[in-house]
């Protein structure tokens, strides 16, 4: 178990002090695939580097099974890093060493005899499905293949925790899927706790069971992925969960008081064509502004944004009708305009920066 308590980290730069993390509290249980998500600059990378002490926290503690990592001697710290390993966005393989030698690096560091290390590296190549590339150099491999080798290297010392720092951000969607499956497999088969740092909601959706949303160095929301996704509370979370919605609304130019958001929390997908039946039963033709739903085990999760033409009565009627469906929550959008405004400000802020 990893407990992060009251963690803060600030950097002193020429322009003054920057608070990268503010009072972060998280608990990561053994066997979790824990997502930490946020926009760039939210402090994700700093947070993950505080977990293996590549960055020393300014305040607060990181406990690994009750051991305060901040108090470890240099030697113990290096030993700890054999148990808490890391993979990176840019893979960070040794370019002058072949795949087998790359995987053997951590084993060399713990002084494992060479023949034994080679045997272990060969097993790991097999685990990540790269047995035929033992003698290949990283430059000869694709990004996905390089990340597989990096994963094998991270597994070499039988770690308890695997830190993934934007591990799929440099990969195409198909390769991302493959790498995520591999990480999930590692979590399930080897029981390794995985901490995933990402800015992609899809990555969290795909493999995490828990998620924390980081904004400006603070955790603004935390919980089970299904819960956080179906009913996001914090603004930052909503922005991450509904990024397309805001864009969709712009293009339709719909007045926000005419909108309904449907949140599917595991509704039966095949039970009833919801929008069509509303058109027949209430004679309300809804515009689907955008939809982001996915089906898991025949149940629908996600959200849909509807524009209801014809004034407040129609809107109320539609809301009433839709709310009869089990496992679907209906929100009449009023704060959406505020969210839009905030997003616009953020964008113009970025532009001036």
């Amino acid at each position: 178990m990893i407990e992060i308590c009251n963690l803060s980290k600030s950097f002193t730069t020429a322009g003054g002090t920057v608070d990268a993390l503010r009072n972060v509290n998280l608990t990561i249980r053994d066997g979790d695939v824990y997502g930490i998500i946020g926009m760039s600059g939210a402090g994700k990378s700093t947070l993950v580097r505080c977990i293996n002490m590549l960055e020393r926290p300014t305040e607060g503690t990181v406990l690994l099974d009750g051991v305060n990592l901040g108090t470890l001697s240099k030697k113990k710290m290096q030993e700890m890093r054999h148990h808490v390993t890391m993979i990176f966005q840019s893979f960070n393989l040794l370019m002058q060493r072949n795949c087998l030698q790359n995987i053997m690096l951590p084993l060399k560091l713990i002084h494992m005899p060479k023949d034994q290390a080679q045997k272990r590296a060969e097993e790991l190549l097999n685990t990540v499905g790269m047995s035929d590339k033992a003698k290949a150099y990283p430059a000869q491999l694709s990004g996905g293949q390089q990340q597989r080798i990096a994963i094998a290297r991270a597994l070499a010392t039988d770690p308890r925790v695997l830190l993934c720092d934007e591990a799929t951000s440099a990969l195409d969607p198909k390769t991302t899927q493959d790498i995520l499956s591999l990480i999930r497999e590692i979590n399930q088969k080897l029981g390794i706790t995985v901490i995933v740092i990402t800015h992609q909601m899809s990555v969290v959706q795909e493999i995490c069971n828990r998620v924390a949303i980081l904004e400006n160095g603070s955790v603004v929301e935390e919980g089970d992925v299904s819960e956080v996704f179906s009913n996001p509370q914090a603004r930052a979370t909503k922005r991450l969960v509904y990024p397309d919605m805001a864009a969709g609304m712009d293009s339709f130019g719909a007045p926000h008081q005419q909108m309904i958001r449907l949140v599917f929390q595991g509704a039966e997908a095949a039970a009833k064509p919801l929008i069509a039946s509303m058109a027949i039963d209430c004679r309300i033709a809804a515009n689907i502004l955008s939809a982001a739903t996915r089906t898991l085990d025949g149940k629908v999760y996600g959200t849909m944004l509807l524009n209801i033409p014809g004034g407040p009565e129609q809107l109320a009627k539609a809301a009433q009708y839709l709310s009869q469906t089990p496992d679907v929550r209906v929100q009449i959008e009023s704060e959406y305009a505020g969210l839009q405004e905030e997003k616009r400000q953020a964008q113009s802020g970025e532009a001036t920066a």
Partner: protein, 238 residues
């Protein structure tokens, strides 16, 4: 112009030069190569660790050393690099005599050459190591590598092609410096050129020495570049 040729390239001079080329040039070339290789070897033995120290001991390095020590090292290297080689030879004569029992001959030039070249090599090594991708160093640290392991298992192996290029620059520069070995009675092409060519006004000898030096530099540089390319596994399709 005609006068110049009559004076420096007349039949007698050419005949003298031809005798010299046949009798002395081979051993002088060997002598130059010997001085160059030995000096480079020792310059690398001192300069490589020093270059590593400059990078790892830096404020932002993997093993920061006291700032005073780093300032002193940088100052010392700059000082040695700013002294003209011919002055260094003369100044170092007592030191050379102390080390070798004599301040002249081939050995007499190797000592000042090493002193002049190791700070240069240290700077070249520093440059090579600083070019390393910092992400690779971070990877090593996150894998639990200590300072030694980071240097020997990660930094140096990853810098091999760049270090070969740096050492090639060093050896060709040192080869040029060996010409001054004549000043302390060391052997080699430089000595031959000065003693036989310049002092006896036989420019054919000077030219011949120059041509051999040019060929040596070309060979060393070509070999170094080839080796650096061959060792670099970042290049695809090999």
């Amino acid at each position: 112009m005609a006068e110049y040729f009559a004076r420096y390239f007349n039949d007698k001079k050419m005949a003298d030069a031809w005798v010299l080329i046949q009798e002395d040039f081979l051993s002088a070339t060997w002598s130059t190569l010997y001085i160059t290789l030995m000096s480079t070897l020792f310059a690398i033995l001192i300069g490589l660790p020093l270059g590593i120290l400059l990078v790892t001991g830096d404020d932002k390095g993997i093993h920061p050393l006291p700032r005073g020590l780093m300032t002193f090292l940088n100052w010392l290297i700059n000082l040695l690099r700013s002294a003209p080689f011919i002055i260094l030879i003369v100044l170092l004569m007592p030191f050379t005599r102390m080390m070798l029992g004599s301040a002249v001959g081939d050995g007499g030039v190797i000592v000042p050459l090493v002193i002049a070249a190791f700070p240069f090599v240290a700077r070249l090594v520093e440059g090579s190591l600083r070019e390393l991708n910092p992400n690779i160093i971070e990877m090593a640290q996150s894998s639990g590598a200590n300072t030694w392991q980071t240097v020997f298992h990660v930094m140096l192996p990853e810098s091999v092609p760049s270090l070969i290029t740096a050492f090639t620059t060093a050896i060709t520069t040192i080869l040029g410096y060996t010409a001054m070995s004549g000043a302390v009675g060391g052997g080699g092409l430089g000595n031959l050129a000065i003693a036989q060519g310049q002092q006896r006004s036989n420019h054919a000898v000077l030219l011949a020495a120059l041509i051999i030096l040019v060929i040596l530099v070309q060979i060393l540089q070509t070999f170094g570049t080839w080796l650096a390319k061959k060792s670099d596994k970042r290049l695809k399709n090999r």
